[in-house]
Symmetry: D2
């Protein structure tokens, strides 16, 4: 069981959203940030790095936005729905752009395939949470 769920279950404030949706999104954001950091680094180590410049850049952006969004939605004390919503929308877009570029390299580079899955999973989890808050 992830720490996110354990901490939410013992949180002093009532959580207005279904815990499973929230936990899935929190975990997806942190996991995607790790995957994008790893994919950017693996791309940087490839002999054809010059063909992977756009992939590296978008993975770096996606890692940063996933981390800030993951932290924003982790916080449930004095929850501000507008801050959460715009952060989630930024995360949907960052994941979408990164997934699209990783997809182009997925046949050639297996780490791009893994990262595409991480980005698509995170994009969907953010959209599901957006629909619920």
């Amino acid at each position: 069981m992830s720490y996110a769920l354990q901490i939410l279950e013992t949180h002093p404030k009532a959580i207005d959203v279904e815990a499973d949706l929230l936990v899935r999104c929190i975990d997806a954001c942190f996991d995607c940030a790790q995957a994008c950091t790893g994919c950017a680094d693996a791309c940087l180590g490839e002999p054809d790095v010059a063909d992977l410049v756009r992939c590296i850049r978008l993975c770096e952006d996606c890692a940063d936005v996933c981390l800030s969004t993951g932290r924003v939605i982790t916080r449930q004390t004095e929850f501000d729905a507008q801050v959460a919503r715009t952060a989630l929308q930024a995360c949907v877009q960052a994941c979408n752009s990164s997934a699209a570029e990783c997809r182009r390299h997925a046949e050639m580079h297996a780490h791009c395939k893994v990262c595409e899955v991480a980005c698509v999973t995170c994009e969907r989890a953010c959209q599901d949470l957006l629909a619920a808050i």
Copy 2:
């Protein structure tokens, strides 16, 4: 002269937006992240911390979103306007919410007054850049 401007002036890619607007926004994001981290910490040290819970929470969010946005707009290689735009919109909202709460405590706590200025300045810089990209 800030490092942001010096690095942009020597960047290999053509920058499509007025450098001054961009640099002002980059610097405002990093400065606001620092100010919000400091204000959250100063609030946490106040004897009336229980009255400052919302301020701490929103400053933490704002610091995180400003850092990710500041890094996204710093990057000019393979610039993706949609990623930049949604990140900037999240930053506008995080700064707006944080500024509004800091304003409520500005007479009592001078660090909240300083942080309000940082947030308002960053919100405007993000809106100006949004209007230009």
Copy 3:
């Protein structure tokens, strides 16, 4: 299977350290960053927030240091052992201080107990990796 392992297994560069040790440390850093962000927020929402000030502060520090360390050790291209080592040492200390403070509140607040486990797990994973690089 975590994305960290999947991406390492498809990384173009040879990894000099046992993959299991490395993956365990990467995942522990990101998980601990999430847990500390959550515990700081849960503490902030408690009626006795004034007694939890040190816990909030150390969890904030630990979250920041875990994220930067998690990203540094995720990167395997042009690995710099000195940078990795000092980052891991900072992470050991941040986790140790945060765990010690969470332990003091673990009977009263279950989220502090969860966070203590996350911090102790991460501290050990960092020490194990330090011993191997």
Copy 4:
């Protein structure tokens, strides 16, 4: 006057270290994080990106470590000297490695020259603060 100084001057807790040393280090950490993010991105946009792989990697590490260190030393409530010291030591090393690599490319790429200055400045500010806490 930087926000860092303004907020420290209105902080509820007594600051044990000379404010000027502390503010210089805080500002240097955030400035260096921005410069390293920018230099990594500029390197990624260069035609000879394959020769700049080590520079990109070390700048990414340095940006991450500078941000976490900058946030740790910004916080003065319930200051923990051991956490601050190990974070500063990690930052000294990350700046040192990044500066050394940027120096190798400084004649060819002006952004590497700018980034080297940012890293050296931050390394010294961290060492000066380390000597005082």
